[in-house]
């Protein structure tokens, strides 16, 4: 496909602005470097992006069971509301914004109730940003309670890569612990690494194998006993919201991925929103200002002197929060557990259709997702998890998450979400089973998959060895 620069024709343009109605003025110092932006008519531009859209697979194109990403349907009403002038045209520092303040107030109230927390900030713009913010709260807590020596964060090996990376970025030393045989936290190992340097533990529950850690109360108790705090990675909240709350499991702070459990779209990689909730003991350290209600009026509090400071400009990804709030109002107290239960049902149902053929990494009931290990298949046929993932593209569905978690060989991680129907799950399972049969009949065909997409497998080695990261105008 041509790039927008190759479509460009010198002299072509869209007519957007009127002539200037005040006298012309020029800055003292001006640019001499060329500014090679595309020159296009609106037709060219419109068709260019329609063509790009045709080569992009979204949730609306089909089944998208990307494990740990909760690719549920993105309701249209959320988009419509976020697009209202009364939100989109509001300046972040304007006084006259009672509707925005009330929205933030309600969102804090509802999301703290869902998670069992006491306070929340909406400044963090994504999950990893939330992790960093939550860890900063923990750091501040130890600093101000006289324990700056607590500089270790414990992270199980099943954790998302952002957990250790966020810990390092927050100046903590990462203590990795291997999971027990059943995929849960190994209590003995946890106890062994807990000590006077423990700042806290980061945990995803259910974990990335889709298992709810039944020892969760022991885990948080062990960490607390050692003087550490417990951080809940909310990436996998979808299957337990309305059923159990991180706050009741003993967690002190959490982040939510509004672009996962709360149905806001991923936009090809963002914008997301990663609000951070915490218990009262950490509330004064939250970034920025909070909204309180005085009679009928909503207002901001002053920023606390103990606060970690801001982590993003203004009030975070406000419109993403508006979409999530719209979703929570739609679901209400009945809909939230309903979503959780059906997310778990869908995962267990498709698992039951696959488990006689594929090897499930850990048998038994799963939560929202489960992990297949294709180690045996690879040994017997040479067909890898990558081959199977690529082959799935030919069935008009998105492949699952590949090669994660890192403690499982040839892993495929499947999260169907609650917004998929039984028919879709049946059809998907049939595709997985057909690919499995093909692995024994014609592995070569799978090594070369996908066969129906605009391009075949790209040369990633070449791309990384000799990076070409922008259009070459001279080339």
């Amino acid at each position: 496909m041509k790039t927008v620069f190759e479509r460009s024709v010198p002299g072509r343009h869209c007519t957007i602005l009127p002539a200037c109605d005040v006298p012309e003025r020029k800055p003292e110092e001006t640019r001499t470097a060329p500014l090679r932006l595309p020159e296009l008519s609106e037709t060219d531009l419109s068709r260019h992006y329609t063509e790009l859209a045709g080569q992009t697979f979204g949730v609306n194109d089909g089944f998208y069971p990307l494990g740990s990403c909760t690719m549920k349907y993105n309701p249209k009403i959320n988009e419509e509301i976020a697009g209202l002038e009364g939100f989109a045209k509001i300046h972040p520092t304007q006084e006259n914004a009672q509707g925005c303040l009330k929205a933030i107030y309600l969102a804090e109230k509802y999301f703290t109730e869902i998670t069992g927390m006491d306070a929340m900030t909406f400044e963090p713009a994504a999950g990893a940003h939330g992790e960093l913010t939550g860890l900063m709260l923990i750091k501040r807590y130890h600093e101000l309670t006289g324990h700056p020596e607590r500089n270790e964060i414990i992270v199980p090996d099943t954790a998302h890569g952002t957990n250790p990376a966020s810990s390092s970025m927050c100046g903590f030393k990462v203590i990795n612990i291997a999971s027990a045989e059943d995929g849960c936290v190994d209590l003995e190992k946890l106890e062994a690494v807990c000590g006077e340097h423990t700042a806290g533990l980061m945990l995803t529950n259910p974990n990335t194998l889709g298992i709810f850690d039944k020892n969760i109360l022991d885990i948080t108790r062990i960490v607390h006993k050692a003087g550490g705090l417990c951080y809940y990675d909310g990436a996998n909240l979808n299957p337990v919201m309305g059923i159990a709350r991180p706050g009741d499991m003993g967690f002190d702070c959490i982040h939510l991925n509004l672009h996962k459990s709360f149905s806001t779209p991923h936009g090809g990689g963002g914008p997301g929103s990663g609000p951070v909730g915490c218990k009262a003991l950490l509330a004064d350290y939250l970034p920025g200002r909070r909204v309180v209600k005085d009679g009928d009026v909503y207002r901001y509090t002053e920023e606390k002197p103990e606060s970690i400071g801001k982590v993003r400009s203004f009030h975070g990804n406000f419109l993403v929060m508006i979409k999530a709030l719209t979703y929570v109002l739609t679901l209400g107290k009945e809909g939230i557990p309903e979503v959780a239960k059906n997310a778990v049902l869908n995962a267990n149902y498709i698992k039951s259709l696959l488990e006689d053929t594929y090897d499930v990494f850990r048998k038994g009931t799963c939560m929202h997702e489960f992990v297949l290990t294709l180690e045996r298949l690879k040994k017997e046929t040479g067909v890898s998890a990558l081959d199977v993932a690529k082959a799935l593209q030919d069935y008009d569905m998105h492949p699952p998450t590949m090669y994660f978690p890192i403690n499982v060989h040839e892993a495929l991680m499947i999260e169907p979400t609650e917004t998929e129907s039984k028919e879709t799950l049946d059809k998907a399972a049939a595709a997985y089973l057909e690919i499995y049969r093909k692995a024994y009949e014609d592995p070569e065909y799978l090594h070369n998959a996908p066969h129906r997409s605009p391009i075949g497998r790209p040369d990633e080695v070449g791309a990384a060895r000799h990076p070409k990261v922008k259009y070459d105008f001279e080339g």
Binding site: E460, V461, A464, R465
Partner: protein, 127 residues
């Protein structure tokens, strides 16, 4: 798999070419490059950095993985092979020609393996 007899080796799959009483050249073995797959970048150590025996000193990247390189002996980094920055594929093509760094101030070369000993390590690992 090639294991030149004139080189020394470490259990973590580095080779050492002793070039002087206190100097050597370090790279990764044929077995290492083969198991890491196509390398796309090498993060070389800083000149003058202290190399500590068996501690990570730099790393190499493939498309989907990063692997630490451990210093087989203690010493000081005197030179790094900058040619590899633009051509990491040389490590895959010629692992014993593509040295990563040169060390000086090496106190001793104790504990290194001979080619024969290293081959045994590899054989055990493959099982």
């Amino acid at each position: 798999m090639k294991t030149p007899l004139e080189l020394k080796y470490s259990k973590s799959h580095e080779w050492v070419k002793i070039t002087g009483e206190h100097e050597c050249e370090v790279g990764i073995t044929d077995y290492a490059q083969d198991s890491l797959g196509d390398l796309v970048f090498v993060n070389l150590p800083e000149i003058d950095a202290d190399a500590v025996k068996d501690e990570a000193i730099c790393d190499v990247e493939s498309v989907k993985a990063v692997s630490d390189i451990f210093s087989p002996v203690s010493g000081k980094v005197a030179e790094v092979n900058e040619e590899l920055l633009d051509a990491p594929e040389k490590i895959n093509e010629d692992p014993y020609g593509a040295w990563l760094f040169r060390l000086t101030d090496v106190e001793d070369f104790e504990g290194l393996l001979s080619a024969e000993e290293y081959e045994k390590v590899v054989e055990e690992e493959a099982h």
